[in-house]
Point group: C2
Chain length 307, copies 2
């Protein structure tokens, strides 16, 4: 089951030619989600050969332009492409008004249902789920109401242990296993659990934009992958504090305290010519740090059985 | 005196990776104007190394997304870049509401005055002028209220005729000429007009988006350069009519009937793999046709004196 994060853009507010502003495409088990949508996101889909129409839901963290100015273009192009599937949209108060005003003035009646749900930016809330995944908001601390998103697999999914499958299984025994039933041999039950293991649920937390904010620690504790903004280096911590952004050091401190597995850093200010500066600062505190490089796909691997 | 049109984008509604939607930068005598502003226009400024902050006014033809979804990004980035000069914005009813809603939800108070004036899309109106140039709206026929723009130099500007300048001019005679005064030699006046000629006023008409619309002919008669949309080829004239767009043949017919000097074609539907098809169709009717190629600068030359 795939769990992939593709970075469609990771620059901060000031545009850089050829680089996208914040947008991430999530593929979880062939279900696709878009997190944030900076200007030009629809072009980034074309650039990285991703299918925009497969998105089921869009999650917008907050209403600074570098996180949503591409949304109208995405919604409009899906309409021109004759999408008919519903699209869910989650974002802070105000987003629906913005969309309605745009479409009212262009006489646009979308050809697909756009289902908007306002997100809470004050308390964590479950906003979306399917059979295998939930999405919660993560309240962040920024100059506007802002919520990150926590994507977490549900508990209890089991997979067969290849090493324990018997060479002489009958077809009906295979069917029993497929339905998670015990197998009866010679009048004795061999429990399904012997042939299978519970997959460790995986999780991804998206935290942008935010000042250093320990309140999120409990919620993101132990996530497999954390994207945390790192607009500044520690030498510019004052500026970070003034603008309610984080330094790379602060992002790494959050990662370390939350005991996450992997940290992705992005949203760097253009004042830093080479992002390696921010990466090195983070790695001093949290070694498993990476730059959220545009175009890269980060994959969260499933753990195998412990035999 | 420069009169240049730089094509920042010329694709139609469906986005193409690496190509911009409608946006044109006008340089008239070092005064800069932006006409239309498709998504990603601020990136096109970076790509073609043009200074966005030099723009004095932005003209938006209509409220289809491919003509203005980049506007919020431009306004926002100018704010982040600490612009303080006023910026004039002209567009149809509704544009100001869209901008206000965006900025209200992001708590943005622009650091520069943004002066909005609603354009009439029904009757031609003078909306802007400086010492040498006027801008009028051109009512177009589209599925939304839509106005093109006619940029026309004012009459009466005179320039010195190099060939008639005398080698023995005194400094005070030079000053007289500079102030457009006659020169007195041996008690006799030599008229300033002898040393100078009236420059033929140049003009540029931007007409997108529009169905075939002869009502514009009188207004754009004899312009030096006409940009006219050509979304379709003539074989798809029905579709053009349905969507209130033009074919290349229709654009060329307008150019021919209006006796313009040069025709620029753009806004091609992505169904046509090679725009040469549209160009050839137009050239059959109007030979001096060109593709409004992104990144190209078209310069309208001044005519010299007729001696």
């Amino acid at each position: 089951m795939d769990f992939e994060i593709t970075i469609l853009g990771a620059t901060a507010a000031t545009p850089i030619y050829g680089r996208g502003q914040t947008a991430q495409l999530i593929n979880h088990n062939q279900h696709y989600f878009l997190i944030d949508c900076g200007e030009g996101t629809q072009h980034q889909f074309l650039r990285y050969k991703k299918k925009m129409n497969r998105i089921e839901a869009i999650f917008i963290s907050h209403l600074h332009g570098d996180h949503y100015f591409g949304l109208m273009g995405v919604l409009n192009t899906l309409h021109l492409q004759k999408r008919s599937e519903p699209l869910r949209l989650f974002g802070p108060a105000g987003l629906s008004e913005i969309i309605i005003v745009h479409f009212r003035h262009s006489n646009t009646v979308l050809g697909y249902p756009l289902v908007f749900k306002e997100t809470s930016t004050q308390t964590p809330a479950l906003i979306w789920e399917n059979e295998h995944l939930t999405v919660e908001t993560i309240p962040l601390r920024h100059s506007l109401p802002c919520a990150g998103f926590l994507l977490r697999e549900k508990k209890g999914r089991r997979k067969l242990i290849q090493e324990r499958l018997l060479p002489d299984f009958t077809p009906s025994e295979y069917i029993d296993l497929k339905h998670q039933r015990d197998i009866i041999r010679n009048g004795k039950a061999i429990p399904y659990d012997y042939f299978s293991y519970e997959v460790k649920p995986r999780s991804y937390a998206f935290c942008s934009d935010t000042a250093y904010h320990e309140a999120m620690l409990e919620q993101i504790n132990g996530v497999d992958c954390l994207y945390h903004e790192a607009t500044f280096i520690d030498a510019d911590a004052f500026q970070a504090s003034e603008t309610k952004h984080s330094t790379a050091l602060q992002a790494a401190t959050i990662a370390q305290q939350a005991k996450v597995n992997q940290l992705l850093l992005g949203h760097f200010s253009i004042r830093y010519k080479d992002p390696i500066e921010l990466l090195l600062e983070a790695k001093k505190v949290f070694a498993n740090s990476f730059i959220a490089e545009e175009g890269h796909t980060f994959s969260i691997q499933e753990e195998g059985p412990r035999l």
